[in-house]
Every structure is written in structure tokens, then in C-alpha cells.
């Protein structure tokens, strides 16, 4: 999941890297909300490559030939997939706050307290479907993929509950922060693996590998939602669970989620969210159902800025959580007629028909 970043970097961040990034790409700040996300993706790819090079050259290490080659290789790979679910404009936003993840009272405070409802939601849903319960490790034996894991805010609690977690995030600095944070706890260091990658990049090597995918506060930042869901379906085992938390696209969510939360109260850093990319639950449900998922639960979530805590609510007009299950393995096709025919055929040959010759 993600929650930070700033389009207007000059006013918000004080880090040197932030100033450099903003100065290097004056065009980025003026970008309008692009209609077709995949076009932005392509343009963003080149900008992202340029930024990476500039950042590397502005650091003390010289850009070696092998590094340049690997960068070009990265560009080639991204270029070959004309659809990418990673929106690099979004990546830039999170790059700037990569070191702020674990400050429980800082920019990501609302995400830290979101753990208090999203972890029990995931845990209880999985416990109700599984048959064996390991004392002290309720999620033992479950393989979870945390897409857009950021600094590992959600991966760590899931790891503590016994699951084997793979956390992926396209922003390398996030992965670095996450790796360093888990390294001090030997139990977590073994249970959690982080990779700097997008979802598409791991599809080939992880077909039907995971029991659970968690995409919390991610889908409102991706470029191509349908492809994202298709990739989720590919890496998920049959009957596997997909958990999504995101923000609805309503007038209320514009007023509270953008105007109040970002501009007035500063609960979320300014520029984190774009209202155009919010997804109504009906649309998300439709996309899920048409890509092989069956939606089991949709629940509304509410953040109380005074107490700093989240709670469940009936209405999904602001934040909401979705639990969907991938369709199970297709059974072998035996039309019911043959089943009925078979006994009568055997009955005939076995000579149990009353009219049959003795």
C-alpha cells in the first residue's frame, strides 16, 4: 500500500533528494491528470529513466557502463509491455517520502492505524476458511503477496501472525527501507521477502503461487486496473483470496478525502491522491467478477481524525475494503446425461432387465 508523496515537492519536503528531483523535472509538476493512463505510463517511463540516471549521477558514484546497460535493459523491458499497471508519476510521489514509513506519528500515521482494522479483517477471513489453527501463529503456512508494500507496514504484522509474505513495490527506496526495518527481527527476516518490482514482472515466475494477495491502498494509484486484476488472478492459486482496500469516487470522498484530508487537515500529504483515479465499488466488483473472481465482502471504512483511528461502517462512500475469491479449479466435464445412461446400459448387459431373456 502507499500513502505518501508530494507533487508540489518544493513546498513540502526538506530532503535534498527531493529538491534535486523536483529541479530535474520541472515538467512533472505541471502534468495534468491524464485521461488515458497508459499514455502517461509511456511518457513517464522515459522521464523515470532520465530521473534515475540524473539521481545516480548527482550522487558521488559514477554511472558505470554495466549500470547504464542495466538501465537500458530496464527501459527495454518496460517499453516492451505497452500496458503497465505501474504509473511512474505515482512512483515519483512515493520516492520522496521513502524514509518516512516507520514514523508512527508522521506522514504515514493514518496507514499505521489502519492496521488495526485491516489486519483483523484479513486474519479473521482467512481463519474462517482454514481448518487448522496453529496456536500463536494463526496465519501459519499461508503464502501472501503484498502488492505495493511500501515500507512493509502491512507485511510485518502479517509476518508476525505466521504467514510467509512476499512484498513487492516498484520504488526501490521503499524496498530498502522495508528490508532494513525487518532485518532487526530474526523471525520477520526469515518470513518476509521484499522485491523491488511491479506486479507484471513477477507474473511469469509466480504463476499460481500465492494463497492470498493483499493490495491495500494501491489500486487508486495504478495505471491500468484491469491488467492489474488479471495479473493478480494469474499469480493467485485457485480459490485464493484477494484483499483490496481503496477509496470510492464520490462527491463526499472528494470533499473529505482530498479537500479536508490533504489540504485542510494534512492527514495525507498533499497530492497523494487524484480523485479521477478513485474507483467506485460497483466498478471494482464488475472488473473482479469479469476476470474470474467472486466478490464475497464489501465493507465501508471510516477514519476519525480526532482519535486517529479507523472503524468499519455500513456506507462505502469513502474508504472501503473488498474480499474476493478466485474461481476454483475447473472440474472435469461430465454431462449429467451420461451418468444416467451408464447404469441403464450396465443394467441391460448385466441382464437384470425383467424382460430380458434368461
Amino acid at each position: 500500500m502507499r500513502g505518501g508523496g508530494a507533487a508540489r515537492a518544493l513546498t513540502l519536503t526538506l530532503t535534498l533528494r527531493g529538491r534535486r528531483a523536483a529541479a530535474a523535472l520541472p515538467g512533472a509538476a505541471c502534468d495534468d491528470r491524464a485521461g488515458l493512463s497508459f499514455q502517461t505510463g509511456l511518457r513517464g517511463v522515459f522521464q523515470d529513466y532520465n530521473k534515475k540516471r540524473q539521481l545516480k549521477s548527482s550522487s558521488t558514484l559514477p554511472v558505470s557502463l554495466t549500470e547504464m546497460k542495466s538501465n537500458m535493459f530496464t527501459v527495454k523491458r518496460l517499453f516492451s509491455t505497452s500496458h503497465s499497471s505501474v504509473d511512474s508519476k505515482e512512483m515519483k510521489k512515493f520516492q520522496l517520502l521513502a524514509h518516512k514509513w516507520w514514523d508512527e506519528e508522521g506522514e504515514y500515521a493514518a496507514l499505521h492505524s489502519m492496521n488495526d482494522i485491516r489486519v483483523p479483517f484479513i486474519r479473521d477471513t482467512l481463519l474462517s476458511t482454514s481448518s487448522n489453527y496453529h496456536l500463536g501463529n494463526p496465519l501459519s503456512g499461508i503464502k501472501i503477496l503484498d502488492v505495493g508494500c511500501g515500507g512493509g507496514l502491512l507485511s510485518e504484522p502479517l509476518g508476525r501472525l505466521g504467514a510467509s509474505v512476499t512484498g513487492i513495490d516498484p520504488v526501490e527506496d521503499n524496498i530498502r527501507t522495508a528490508d532494513r526495518h525487518k532485518s532487526f527481527d530474526p523471525v520477520l527476516a526469515k518470513r518476509i521477502q521484499y522485491k523491488s518490482s511491479s506486479l507484471e514482472e513477477i507474473v511469469e515466475e509466480s504463476m499460481e503461487t500465492f494463497d492470498v494477495i493483499v493490495a491495500s491502498e494501491v489500486v487508486e494509484h495504478v495505471a491500468d486496473l484491469e491488467m492489474f486484476i488479471k495479473c493478480c488472478s494469474q499469480v493467485l492459486k485457485p480459490d485464493g483470496s484477494l484483499f483490496i482496500t481503496t477509496i470510492n469516487k464520490t462527491q463526499l470522498s472528494y470533499v473529505l478525502g482530498i479537500v479536508v484530508a490533504e489540504k485542510i487537515m494534512g492527514i495525507v500529504p498533499e497530492g497523494t491522491h487524484e480523485w479521477e483515479k478513485f474507483i467506485p465499488p460497483e466498478e471494482l466488483e464488475h472488473l473482479l467478477e469479469s476476470n474470474g473472481f467472486s466478490v464475497k465482502t464489501v465493507k465501508g471504512m471510516l477514519y476519525n481524525p480526532l482519535s486517529g483511528s479507523w472503524s468499519w461502517m455500513e456506507s462505502t462512500s469513502l474508504n472501503y475494503a473488498v474480499h474476493a475469491v478466485k474461481a476454483g479449479a475447473q472440474p472435469t466435464d461430465t454431462p449429467p446425461e451420461t451418468d444416467i445412461q451408464q447404469p441403464s446400459a450396465t443394467a441391460g448387459t448385466a441382464g437384470t432387465a425383467p424382460d430380458g431373456p434368461v
Partner: protein, 469 residues
């Protein structure tokens, strides 16, 4: 971030996050070799051992590692002497529930304890008295020797030895606190240095090391404390005749309250809070004179005055008009025949309350957090109440996969317990001061107050409910 601003207005949270100036940037190389525990309890008394035992028996702590540090040696509790120990505690029903949740109460019951059903508290300067008893004549509380509780807890700690590691003869000499947000490469855990040079790391440090808590001092938590000009004299007494000994007696003398707590049908425990000089005298006396002082303290009416007696009688008849059942006859406690030799001892009394119970990765429980006068019989019960609350929040945090040392749930524990403890400690202190005087106006006030309270069952029930949590 709005939540941060809000809290910043209400409390100096920023100061709390930086626990002490000793947060040194030691290299990770030496620190990473030290064994890491999920919870480390410093102090192996009744409260510290109970904390470790309760966590050890919690299902959500099944795969966690807990450590208990005790400076003293492991005591052999297998053979309880026939004579009673002079250190006893009044255990409330709430505390009994906590001890049974970790399986220790069964051991206590199989060893020895004395339930009591009534409590009579009266004044030495007047006829006023108050009687507490449960409507259904259930047990109001239990008098248990401290050694019996320790024996039961040690047995339960042995039962979960795979999860709880007890370090005997291990005194912690230094604590190193982590910086709250991990912006550098230092270990985020609390480092504990033992006297023998060993080092341990923990995600949550629980200080249960008594009213002179080292954990509290090292964490630089302010402590409001006050030494009373009183010491408590304890002894084991034998009654003149066997009786249905299920009443706890307490009389407020001007020098301090004297209490008789039942141990068996023939024995009772004495807790006499009095001035330091008088306490030394009591210890020095021969046994006969000592027994005589006790009996006269309970029976003599030397402190009565005509004025107070008349005023009290008037008030009592007024109450009996309004509420016929609101007055009762004052009963006299059993008389004492002899005292166990070698059982007389004294210890100084004081009051204390820590301004904060928690900091990042630190929590205080028991006497480390609060110290109270024994007149209300609440000391260890407050500690057990702390354990019940903290264990509840830690268990929920463990089941949520949270970081155990996180301030979020620790603050919930602090708020809950401070709300309960502060009122009780304040009330006990007020009672102590109110009953330490012979000035007529104050005696009148407390006489009428006590008589009125005795006539109001709802008020008494509230008091009993509060004290038995």
C-alpha cells in the same frame, strides 16, 4: 498527522518518545549477538512473576519468548513451614480470577488461604463504624501468605518453561533505550545489561521492580512520592479461643490503623501502622506486653470524648428514623492470647505514583508504578489489576500482529489503569490523613461521614465493587 497535532496539544508526547538521555548509538555488531526476547519482565516478586506467568499462559503468546529477571536466588517453596509467615496480602476476588487464569489459584487453594466474609472498620475516637459484606454472603476476599502466592506462581512458571525463561540471581544494571523512529542503523530494541556482563534485548520491557524501581529511574519517569511518618508492624497472633474467624477487623487509632486479618480459626495476622518510634517500641517489648497493647488498641475507649459520643449518638438516632436498618451494633474483635516468636517485623510506609506508566517499549506495573498505604488492603491488588489490563492489551496486540512495544496499545493500558489507580490512591491518602488526627471538628466530620456511608448500601456496594476489581 492531525492526530499528532491533537495529542501534542493534550500531552507532551514528544518528550515521552525520547526515553532518557542514554540512547547511545552503539554498533549493531555487539548488540545483534544478544538474545532477543519479545517481553522482558524486570523483577520477580509477586507482581513480576504473575505478569510472566499470565503472558506465558496466553494463547497468543504461544510462540513468543518471555524473560523474567530476578535479583534473588530461586527459593524452594516445596515445603511450607507449619507456622504462618508474617507477610500476608488481602487478595480481592478480581485478583483471584487473574491468578486462576494462569492456573496459580488452584495451587494456592491446595496450600492454604483464609476467605473472609465481613469487614468491620471503626474509629477509636467515636462509636462510628462501617461494615462491609456481600449480600449473598459470598467471600469478600482472601488472606493469603505472600510465600504461598510465590510458590503457586513459581509452579506455573515451571509449567511454561519453554516460553518463559527465568533468570535468577540476575540484576539488571543498565538499560539502553532505542530511538523511536528507525531512521538510522541502530537496533530498535531495548538493551538490558546484567550485573554479570550478559546482555539481553527485548521488544518490550516491563518494570515490576518495586517502589524503588530502577526501570522507572532509568526511563526518567517522574514519580510523585511521599514518605509517611509511619511504619507498619506485622506479626502472627494466636487467638484466645477458636472462633469462626471470617471477619477482617480494622480500627483507626490516632497514631494509625490497626488491623487483624484472619489466617485460620485460631490464628490471625497483625498489620499495625503507627509512628516510627512506637513501632520500634512494639518490636522491643516482651511478648506479654505486646499482646496487651494489641488487645487494648482494639478494645479501649480511651480516645472517646463526651462531645463526640453525644453527637454521634444523635446522628445515629436520626439515621435510624430515616433508615431503620442503617445502623448496627459494633462488634468486638477476638482477643489475642499470644504472638508467634520471631514473627514481629516492621517496614516503613509511603505513597507513590508515577506520572507516566508507559513509554516507547517500556511499561511499569505494581509498586514500580504506584505505592499505597496498607489501610485499604489494596497494594498487591492494584498490581494484579495492572497485570490483567496490560495482558489483555498485549494479547490483543499479539493477535493483531502488532509490534509489542508500540505506544498505541501501551497508552490504552496507561489511561485505563491511571483512571482506576489515581482515585483509589488519592482516597486512601485522604483517609489516612483524615484519621490521623484527634481534632474535634475532623473527628466529627469523619464520624458522621462514616455513619452516613454505613447507612447507604448503594454507596457501600460501589466502594466494594471498586476495591474488588
Amino acid at each position: 498527522m492531525a492526530a499528532l497535532r491533537g495529542r501534542a496539544l493534550l500531552a507532551p508526547l514528544g518528550a515521552r518518545l525520547r526515553a532518557g538521555p542514554r540512547a547511545s548509538l552503539r554498533s549493531t555488531a555487539s548488540a545483534s549477538a544478544a538474545p532477543l526476547y519479545d517481553v522482558l519482565v524486570s523483577g520477580g516478586g509477586m507482581v513480576g512473576s504473575a505478569m510472566a506467568a499470565v503472558l506465558g499462559h496466553d494463547i497468543h503468546f504461544h510462540d513468543k519468548k518471555i524473560a523474567l529477571l530476578e535479583a534473588g536466588p530461586r527459593k524452594d517453596y516445596d515445603h511450607l513451614p507449619d507456622s504462618y509467615s508474617n507477610r500476608v496480602s488481602s487478595i480481592s476476588p478480581g485478583s483471584a480470577t487473574l491468578l486462576s487464569s494462569c492456573g496459580a489459584w488452584d495451587h494456592v487453594c491446595s496450600l492454604r488461604l483464609k476467605p473472609f466474609r465481613r469487614m468491620q472498620v471503626w474509629d477509636a475516637c467515636s462509636e462510628a463504624m462501617i461494615v462491609f459484606e456481600k449480600d449473598d454472603l459470598d467471600d469478600m476476599g482472601y488472606i493469603v501468605e505472600n510465600d504461598v502466592i510465590m510458590s503457586a506462581l513459581t509452579k506455573q512458571l515451571d509449567a511454561v518453561a519453554d516460553r518463559v525463561e527465568v533468570f535468577y540471581r540476575s540484576k539488571a544494571v543498565g538499560y539502553t533505550w532505542p530511538l523511536p523512529s528507525h531512521s538510522c542503523d541502530t537496533s530498535p530494541w531495548v538493551q538490558v545489561e546484567l550485573a554479570d556482563g550478559r546482555r539481553l534485548q527485548t521488544k518490550l520491557l516491563i518494570g515490576a521492580d518495586g517502589h524503588n524501581s530502577v526501570v522507572r529511574k532509568e526511563a526518567e519517569i517522574q514519580n510523585i512520592e511521599h514518605r509517611y511518618d509511619q511504619s507498619a508492624v506485622v506479626a502472627t497472633l494466636h487467638l484466645s479461643e477458636a472462633t469462626d474467624n471470617n471477619v477482617a477487623w480494622q480500627r483507626f487509632l490516632p497514631t494509625g490503623p490497626i488491623a487483624l486479618l484472619p489466617l485460620s480459626d485460631t490464628a490471625s495476622s497483625l498489620v499495625w501502622s503507627t509512628s516510627h518510634d512506637h513501632a520500634l517500641e512494639l518490636l522491643a517489648m516482651d511478648e506479654e506486653t505486646f499482646v496487651d497493647s494489641i488487645n487494648s488498641a482494639f478494645w479501649s475507649n480511651i480516645n472517646h470524648s463526651e462531645f463526640i459520643d453525644t453527637a454521634g449518638a444523635m446522628f445515629r438516632s436520626a439515621i435510624s428514623l430515616l433508615k431503620p436498618s442503617g445502623t448496627a451494633v459494633r462488634q468486638l474483635p477476638p482477643s489475642v492470647a499470644k504472638v508467634d516468636p520471631e514473627s514481629r517485623a516492621m517496614f516503613p510506609l509511603g505513597m507513590g505514583h508515577a506520572t507516566e506508566y508507559v513509554q516507547h517499549r517500556v511499561a511499569l506495573i505494581g509498586d514500580a508504578a504506584h505505592r499505597v498505604h496498607p489501610l485499604a488492603g489494596q497494594g498487591v491488588n492494584l498490581g494484579f489489576g495492572d497485570i490483567a489490563c496490560l495482558a489483555h492489551h498485549l494479547s490483543a496486540a499479539a493477535f493483531n500482529g502488532s509490534d509489542l512495544g508500540s505506544l498505541k496499545h501501551l497508552l490504552k493500558f496507561e489511561t485505563e489503569r491511571q483512571r482506576h489507580n489515581v482515585s483509589l490512591i488519592a482516597a486512601t491518602d485522604v483517609l489516612k490523613r483524615l484519621y490521623s488526627t484527634t481534632l474535634a471538628p475532623l473527628v466529627l466530620l469523619r464520624t458522621w461521614g462514616l455513619q452516613a456511608t454505613n447507612a447507604l448500601p448503594p454507596v457501600k456496594e460501589q466502594i466494594m465493587a471498586f476495591a474488588s476489581k
